[in-house]
């Protein structure tokens, strides 16, 4: 039963992932990505990683994809302009793909034997997943945990510096500038020759 569910989820996941890169409309693509995240959450759930599965939905579907949709809507991407760059980016794109594939292969080769056997081995019967996670995250993995805080801080500062522009659309007075103003800045006295009456 479990493996049947796994194959159903896996099929949907692969289908959705392929549609993400093949579908034309970027909004549809991001919705397929949402579907992909959902099914991966389902697969994680099958591994009894309930905390991680729900966090995946919470963070990726609930937050990251909302940002994606915002960006896509904000850019209002035209299909035609998307097509144009295809040839140009194909080379670098395929290079990155090959590198990632190689990395995946190396990871599987190094850890492949482990992957099959270590699923849910540390799970005690009646300790909830989240408690088990909490007990190691804040003790054994303290350093990476605090590092994550630093990462989030950096992300926050970066986001602000990238997007914040000093706003000048609102009208307010700057008294110092008002005081500094000299008559010569504002007023120009022109000499005009008197017009002669005809």
């Amino acid at each position: 039963m479990t493996s049947l569910v796994f194959y159903i989820f896996a099929t949907i996941l692969i289908f959705a992932a392929i549609r993400v890169v093949t579908v034309k409309n970027p909004v549809h693509a991001s919705l397929f990505l949402v579907l992909a995240f959902f099914t991966s959450a389902g697969i994680w759930l099958l591994l009894e990683a309930e905390f991680l599965a729900i966090t995946l939905v919470l963070v990726y579907v609930g937050a990251v994809m909302v940002l994606f949709l915002f960006v896509i809507m904000m850019l209002d991407i035209d299909h035609k302009t998307l097509r144009e760059g295809f040839g140009r980016y194909f080379a670098i794109g395929s290079f990155v793909a090959v590198v990632v594939l190689l990395e995946l292969y190396m990871v599987f080769k190094a850890k492949g034997s482990d992957l099959a056997t270590t699923t849910a081995k540390a799970m005690a019967e009646d300790v909830p997943n989240t408690v088990a996670l909490g007990k190691v995250l804040y003790t054994d993995y303290l350093y990476p945990f605090e590092l994550a805080a630093m990462l989030l801080l950096v992300a926050m500062v970066a986001a602000i510096t990238l997007t914040m522009r000093p706003r000048r659309s609102n009208k307010y007075q700057e008294p110092s500038k008002q005081v500094e103003v000299k008559a010569s800045d504002r007023l120009k006295v022109l000499k005009m020759p008197a017009e002669k009456a005809e």
Binding site: T55, T130, Y138
Partner: protein, 118 residues
Amino acid sequence: MLENYIPILLFILVGLLVGLGPVLMGFLVGPHKPDEEKDSPYECGFEAFENARMKFDIRYYLVAILFIIFDLEIAFLFPWAIVLQDLGWYGFSVMSIFLGILVVGFAYEWKKGALEWE
């Protein structure tokens, strides 16, 4: 544990059904008289004069990014909150450091005016 999640799947499916079923009923029962004027987007009686999917203020985007960061923070706080009673003062100080670092970021965005709307 997994069998506990079956009702959830069922509820999600029923939810979609409750979302789509009445609409289907509406399509079957309701009239269909499409009309050019009726189908045009609402624009206070004017002709729509530009694409509705316009560009919008970048600070919505900033809000979305800040939301992701804080959401992650909450995801980190959840396991901590339920083991706090076991971890005691050690756990409290660990999270104080974590929150402290993030409060610095929060103070920064506050000072920078990222939270200002007008």
